[in-house]
C-alpha cells in the first residue's frame, strides 16, 4: 500500500477515473463543429521566409569594373526575398541549378551578382538575359553569413574577384558604424563603387593580411583561393564559400547507371567533373540545393564502382549514418570508373 486508501476513497477514486473518458468526450461534444483550420502565424511566416521556387523578372543588368555582372531583379509576385547577407539564390536554367549570391543587403531592392566568365558555364545564361526576361529563383540557401552570437564583433572578410557579390552584400548589411567591425581585403581586384574605407585591394592570395586579435576569418572565392586562405590562417578556423565547381585534371569518360523510382538510365560522366554536374547535364531528375556538400539534398547510394571525394576525410560533409550505408553526395565526388547509383 503506497497511498493511504480505504474502500471509501477507492470508490471516490474510481468515480474520478471513470470520469476521465466522460470529461474528454464532453470536451469533444462541446467543441467548435466547424472545419478545422490549419494555423497562420508561424506556418505562414515560414512560407514567406522560404517561398520555394518562384518567378522573378530581370529589371536591369550592369557590369562592374571587375567584370561582375549585377542583375537587379524583382519577384513577379509576392514579397521580396528574405535572406542573410552572404546567402545565395538558386537559379534554374536548362535543368541545371546553381546558387548565385545576393549582392544586395537584406531590405534593399534585390540584386544578384556573379562573374560570368571563368566560372560555372551555367552562369553564362545570366549574360544572355535582357531586361524584362523572367528567371526562376529559389532563395535563400547557404551558410556563409555573419552570425553575431557565434562570430563576435570583429570580422576579417576576404575575397577574390568572384567573391565580390557576397562581399558587397555583407559590407552593406553591416555598414561602417554598425556593432560589427569589418575589415575587407579583395585580391586581384580594382576598386569597385561599393568599396568603402574598410576595403583594401591586394594583388593576390599571397598578400593577405595578418589576422588582428580574435577576428573571425571569412573567405569567398574560387576553390584555390579558399584553400590558400585556409593555409594562410591555419590553424584558425576559416569560414569559406567557394564560387566554382570542383574540377579535376582528368578527361576519361565513364558510364553511370542510375536506378530511380522512374527506372534505369545510363549517363555519361567525366572523371574531371562532379557526378552531379554529369547527372544534371544528362537531364536526370536529382535534387540539389547547396552544391557544396553540406545540405545532403543530392544524397544517393553508391551501389558499385569507385569514386574520389573532393573533401579530405576530416571534412567529409556526409552524415555518419549515411557513410555506413554507402551514401554519397554527388556534388562532391568524381567518378573513377563506371559506377552504379540508386536515387
Amino acid at each position: 500500500m503506497i497511498f493511504d486508501t480505504d474502500a471509501k476513497t477507492a470508490e471516490r477514486d474510481l468515480g474520478k477515473f471513470l470520469s476521465l473518458t466522460r470529461d474528454r468526450l464532453e470536451r469533444f461534444e462541446k467543441a467548435d463543429p466547424g472545419k478545422p483550420q490549419f494555423p497562420g502565424g508561424v506556418n505562414e511566416s515560414q512560407l514567406v521566409l522560404h517561398p520555394g521556387e518562384r518567378p522573378f523578372r530581370l529589371l536591369k543588368k550592369e557590369t562592374s569594373p571587375n567584370g561582375v555582372l549585377f542583375a537587379h531583379i524583382a519577384p513577379s509576385s509576392g514579397a521580396a526575398p528574405v535572406f542573410r547577407a552572404g546567402q545565395q539564390a538558386r537559379v534554374r536554367v536548362r535543368g541545371v541549378t546553381r546558387p548565385v549570391f545576393f549582392a544586395s543587403a537584406p531590405g534593399e531592392p534585390p540584386c544578384l551578382g556573379v562573374c560570368v566568365d571563368g566560372q560555372l558555364e551555367a552562369f553564362a545564361f545570366l549574360d544572355a538575359l535582357s531586361a524584362g526576361d523572367e528567371l526562376t529563383l529559389n532563395a535563400p540557401v547557404g551558410n556563409f553569413y555573419i552570425l553575431p552570437p557565434r562570430d563576435g564583433a570583429d570580422i576579417l572578410l576576404l575575397s577574390d574577384r568572384t567573391g565580390l557579390p557576397a562581399v558587397r552584400s555583407i559590407s552593406r548589411a553591416f555598414p561602417p558604424g554598425s556593432p560589427t567591425n569589418l575589415r575587407v581585403f579583395c585580391a586581384g581586384c580594382v576598386p569597385e563603387p561599393f568599396f568603402d574605407s574598410r576595403f583594401t585591394a591586394v594583388p593576390d592570395a599571397g598578400s593577405l593580411p595578418e589576422r588582428s586579435g580574435n577576428e573571425r576569418v571569412f573567405v569567398c572565392g574560387s576553390d584555390a583561393f579558399s584553400e590558400a586562405a585556409r593555409e594562410r590562417y591555419s590553424p584558425v578556423f576559416v569560414r569559406s564559400a567557394v564560387t566554382d565547381d570542383p574540377k579535376r585534371d582528368r578527361t576519361e569518360l565513364f558510364t553511370c547507371t542510375v536506378f530511380s523510382p522512374e527506372g534505369e538510365t545510363a549517363v555519361p560522366c567525366s572523371a574531371g567533373e562532379t557526378l552531379l554536374s554529369s547527372l544534371e547535364r544528362a537531364g536526370v531528375r536529382i535534387r540539389s540545393n547547396c552544391v557544396d556538400g553540406t545540405c545532403g539534398f543530392c544524397r544517393c547510394r553508391l551501389v558499385s564502382g569507385g569514386v574520389s571525394f573532393r573533401d579530405p576525410e576530416d571534412r567529409d560533409p556526409r552524415r555518419r549514418a549515411d557513410i555506413r550505408e554507402g551514401i554519397i553526395h554527388p556534388c562532391r565526388v568524381f567518378p573513377d570508373s563506371d559506377i552504379v547509383i540508386e536515387l
Partner: protein
C-alpha cells in the same frame, strides 16, 4: 494506379515503425516522405566539422537485453534492429539547476532507482522514503495497466480497478498532488520534477501517472543515444522496410487522402501520383489531416469537433553549437542540463509564452555520452526550449533573423550564468532552429514538436481509455508525436507499432 496494402504518410519515427511492423507482417507497404531524406526530425545535419543531432536527447525505454520491458526495446527487438545500432550509454539522469530563487538547486541525479533515491536524500533530507514509494508505485501502475488490458467487460474492469487502489489514486492526481500525497519534501519534489520539460505540461496539471511512468522508465532502465545520430535509426527502419519489398519514397508529399463510403481508398501526392491503399497511417498531425488532406465532405462532425478541441503542446526552439574545445577543457562534465529559473512549473509554463520571459532550457553535451561525437579538441552542445504559444508567428519576416539570433544569444548567456561554464568565445559552428524551422521541415502546426498538450482532460490515460478508434474514417490511423502515446522517440516507436497492429486487426477482421 499502384496498389499498396498500406500507405504511411510521413517517415518520422512513428511512421517508420508502423511501416516496419506492417512489412514484417507481410503487407506491401509504402512510406511517403515529403523531404529528400527520411526521418523527419529523427535526423542530423552537418555544419563544418560537426554533425548535429536534430532532436534526440536520449532514448528511454531501452534497458539491457535481459530486461526488455521498455517501449523502444520492445519495438526494436521485434524488428531485430536493436543490435544493428551502435549505442552509447548516457552517463547520468540529469543535472538540475535553478538560478532565480533564494536557495538555488544544483543536483546531479544518477540512474538506478536506489542511487536516485540516495542522491535525492542527500539533496533533500526526508526524500528517500517517498522516492522509493514513487518507484514502487510505478511498478504497481505497470501491473494495473497490464491487468486492465486483460479484463473484459465493465464488471471485470471495475473489479480489476478496485483491486488496484494505488493505481486508481495515482490516475486522478497531478504531479504536484501526487508527490505531496507521497509525503515528498518540497525540495525533493522540485528535484524529481526536473524532467517536466520533456512533457511540457506544468506539474499542477500534468498526470502523475504519465510523469511517474516516464521518470521510472529513465531511472530504472537508463537511456542511450545512437553514436551515428538518429539517422542511424531512420536508415535502419527504412532499410528494414525496403528489404521486405516495401517502398520508402522521398520527395513525395501527400496532398490528398482519398475516401469512399467512409473508408480510405488511397492517397495522392503533390506531383499527381496516386496510390491505392486499404489502410493509411498518418505520421503527421490530425490537424493537418482533417484541415488539409481530406475532402471536407469526408470528415465527420465528431472528427471535426475532436480536432478543434485539442491544444498544441510546445513549439520548438533549438540552438546547436559546435565548440572548438573539448568538453573536458571547457568544464562540461554532464550530459543533460535542465536549467530553469525555479520549479514553479505553472509560472514557467506561462513565461514560456513570450520570448521576453522564456528562460527554460534543456541542454545536452553529446560528448559526455560519446567522446567521439565530434573531432578531438571539440564538443557539441545543443540547447532546447519550448514555447507555450505561437509567439514566433508574430515576428515579421524582416525581423526574424535578428530576433532568432538575440534569443539564441540569451539562451547561451543563461547557460553560462547557471553553470559558470564559459562557451561564447569558443563557438565555431552554430545553427538556430525556431518554430518556423520545424514548421517548414516537418509541416507541424505552429512548429509544435511535442504533439498535442497533455492537458488534464487529454492525458495519456484518458486517450488510451477512450481512443478505441483513430478516426470515424475506416482504415485511417495515427502514429507519432500527435498520436495516442504523446511525444518522445520511445512513445513514437510504440505508437507506430500500435497503429500497425490496429490496421492489421481491421484487415484480419475483414
Amino acid at each position: 494506379m499502384k496498389h499498396y496494402d498500406a500507405v504511411v504518410i510521413g517517415s518520422g519515427v512513428g511512421g517508420l515503425a508502423a511501416g516496419a511492423v506492417l512489412a514484417k507482417n507481410g503487407l506491401n507497404v509504402a512510406v511517403l516522405e515529403k523531404n529528400h531524406c527520411p526521418g523527419g526530425v529523427a535526423n542530423s545535419f552537418r555544419r563544418g566539422r560537426f554533425e548535429f543531432e536534430i532532436s534526440l536527447h536520449e532514448l528511454c525505454g531501452f534497458g539491457p537485453p535481459e530486461n526488455p520491458v521498455g517501449s523502444s526495446r520492445r519495438v526494436l527487438d521485434a524488428l531485430g534492429l536493436s543490435d544493428r545500432i551502435e549505442w552509447a550509454r548516457v552517463p547520468e539522469a540529469y543535472r538540475l539547476i535553478t538560478f532565480a530563487e533564494d536557495s538555488p538547486i544544483d543536483a546531479v541525479m544518477p540512474f538506478g532507482t536506489r542511487a536516485f533515491a540516495d542522491a535525492l536524500e542527500s539533496y533533500a533530507p526526508g526524500s528517500r522514503g517517498p522516492a522509493e514509494k514513487a518507484f514502487a508505485l510505478a511498478g504497481e501502475i505497470r501491473r494495473a495497466l497490464s491487468d486492465l488490458g486483460r479484463a473484459s467487460g465493465p464488471e471485470e474492469k471495475r473489479a480489476c480497478l478496485l483491486s488496484h487502489p494505488d493505481f486508481l489514486r495515482a490516475a486522478g492526481l497531478s504531479v504536484d498532488e501526487g508527490l505531496r500525497q507521497l509525503g515528498m519534501p518540497e525540495r525533493g519534489a522540485d528535484i524529481m520534477k526536473g524532467y517536466w520539460a520533456y512533457l511540457f505540461t506544468d506539474c499542477s496539471e500534468l498526470s502523475f501517472l504519465h510523469y511517474l511512468n516516464m521518470v521510472n522508465s529513465y531511472i530504472e532502465l537508463g537511456s542511450v543515444i545512437p553514436k551515428n545520430r538518429s539517422l542511424e535509426l531512420t536508415n535502419a527502419f527504412a532499410g528494414y522496410i525496403r528489404e521486405r519489398g516495401g517502398d520508402v519514397l522521398t520527395d513525395s508529399e501527400v496532398t490528398r487522402i482519398m475516401c469512399e463510403g467512409g473508408a480510405v481508398r488511397g492517397v495522392r501526392t503533390r506531383s499527381g501520383a496516386e496510390y491505392a491503399a486499404d489502410g493509411v497511417v498518418c505520421n503527421i498531425s490530425p490537424l493537418s489531416v482533417y484541415s488539409l488532406l481530406l475532402e471536407e465532405g469526408d470528415v465527420t462532425a465528431f472528427d471535426r469537433k475532436k480536432t478543434n478541441a485539442r491544444e498544441l503542446s510546445g513549439r520548438g526552439f533549438c540552438v546547436y553549437l559546435g565548440l572548438d574545445r573539448s568538453a573536458r577543457e571547457l568544464g562540461l562534465e554532464n550530459y543533460s542540463y535542465f536549467i530553469y529559473p525555479d520549479m514553479d512549473t505553472a509560472s514557467q509554463y506561462r513565461s514560456a509564452g513570450s520570448t521576453a520571459t522564456n528562460l527554460i532550457q534543456n541542454t545536452v553535451c553529446q560528448n559526455a555520452a560519446d567522446e567521439e561525437a565530434s573531432p578531438p579538441g571539440t564538443c557539441i552542445l545543443t540547447m532546447t526550449t519550448l514555447f507555450s504559444s505561437d509567439v514566433w508567428g508574430g515576428v515579421a519576416p524582416e525581423d526574424y533573423h535578428a530576433e532568432k539570433d538575440a534569443f539564441a544569444a540569451r539562451m547561451i548567456s543563461v547557460f553560462e550564468k547557471a553553470t559558470g561554464i564559459s562557451i561564447s568565445h569558443h563557438i565555431e559552428e552554430m545553427e538556430v532552429a525556431a518554430p518556423q524551422t520545424f514548421a517548414r521541415y516537418i509541416g507541424s502546426p505552429e512548429g509544435a514538436i511535442y504533439g498535442y498538450k497533455a492537458a488534464s482532460w487529454d492525458s495519456i490515460l484518458a486517450r488510451k481509455l477512450m481512443d478505441g478508434k483513430d478516426s470515424d474514417i475506416r482504415g485511417l490511423y495515427f502514429a507519432g508525436g500527435f498520436g495516442m502515446n504523446l511525444n518522445g522517440y520511445s512513445s513514437a516507436m510504440s505508437s507506430g507499432m500500435d497503429a500497425a497492429e490496429r490496421l492489421l486487426g481491421r484487415r484480419d477482421a475483414r
